[in-house]
């Protein structure tokens, strides 16, 4: 592991200790954030799975009745019938904040001229199959929009979780050990210096004593 190169001084030691404490606090916070994100994510994914299954099932039915409608009506006629929508879907997008991840919230309203059940074609040239397949499709619309919302939310949460996880790991396995190591090194170095200093003082004291009482000392 690359070690932190610092001068073994008290100043540096204090600085490092401060940084280590910050790192530890940050680590704890990020870990909490990650756990909460994960909880939210799992909830979203559960919901998504349910929606997805429902939509996919519904789609199967829709296509089936559509091809029946096309066979009965003729493809040209079908296109003509559908091309001018009487219904207008309005989509509103809001944003929601999940642990500071901004995710979109979709609100979808389907409005027709005469309420939601109006059809945009005359009944004379189209078959009843078309009516029923469109009804089925309208039924699945809300779910589709919800599906889009959940999918987006899941993806954005996944991204954020990944990033947070990396940060947590970087702090836990790289930054914090590095600081600890540097702190330990400075401490040993300082102690070493201290011991050197004490021996030096003792030595100096001996020399001074020898100078002043040199002879007496020797005699004693």
């Amino acid at each position: 592991m690359a070690e932190l190169r610092v001068n073994p001084t008290k100043m540096e030691l204090k600085k490092l200790q401060l940084r280590y404490n910050t790192a530890r606090r940050g680590h704890k916070l990020l870990k909490d954030k990650r756990d909460e994100l994960m909880r939210q994510f799992i909830e979203v994914v559960r919901e998504y799975k349910l929606l997805r299954t429902r939509v996919e099932e519904a789609f199967g039915g829709v296509y089936e009745s559509f091809s029946a409608a096309e066979a009965l009506t003729g493809s040209k006629m079908l296109q003509e019938a559908l091309i001018l929508p009487k219904k207008e879907g309005t989509l509103h997008v809001d944003y929601r904040d999940i642990m500071s991840v901004t995710v979109p919230v979709f609100n979808f309203d389907l409005m027709g001229e005469n309420g939601a059940e109006s059809y945009n074609y005359g009944f004379a040239f189209t078959s009843g199959e078309l009516d029923s397949s469109l009804a089925k499709l309208s039924g699945v619309l809300k779910d589709m929009v919800m599906l889009a919302q959940y999918e987006k939310t899941a993806q954005m949460l996944a991204e954020e979780i990944e990033r947070t996880r990396r940060r947590v790991n970087a702090l836990e396995y790289i930054m914090m050990p590095r600081y600890l190591e540097a702190i330990r090194r400075i401490k040993t170095k300082l102690e070493e210096n201290e011991r050197g200093n004490i021996t030096r003082l003792m030595k100096v004291k001996d020399i001074m004593l020898e100078k002043r009482y040199g002879q007496n000392d020797a005699e004693q």
Binding site: F59, V62, E70, G89, L91, L141, E151
Partner: protein
């Protein structure tokens, strides 16, 4: 005003015309890709549904928009039925987030 778009082959998407979606027909996945790129530039296209068999081939392009709030690009089954690609997508997201596939392992 936000729009909902759908890209796919004619037979798969025609029904959505009646529901006020912006429908874009594409004959193959590269055409669909071009349409998708243009649509994604406009922030009003909030939700873009794309038929699964095209989505599979356009995975890289779609992944680019993954981390932006808008647009939400969602694969939907086409007239040939579901290939499970949509689920696969969310499974990959789970793997990315958790590091392991914890939610779907019972199925595979």
């Amino acid at each position: 005003m936000y729009r909902i778009c759908i890209i796919g082959d004619r037979d798969s998407v025609i029904g959505f015309m009646a529901l006020g979606f912006s429908v874009y027909e594409a004959d193959d996945s590269s055409a669909a890709g071009e349409i998708l790129k243009t649509l994604a530039k406009d922030k009003e296209n909030a939700v873009i549904f794309i038929v699964e068999n095209y989505a599979v081939e356009l995975r890289e392009l779609i992944d680019k928009y993954k981390d932006l709030p808008l647009p939400a690009i969602v694969p939907v089954p086409g007239k040939d039925g579901s290939s499970g690609y949509g689920m696969e997508n969310i499974r990959r997201a789970t793997e990315r987030a958790v590091g392991a596939d914890i939610l779907f392992k019972d199925k595979n």
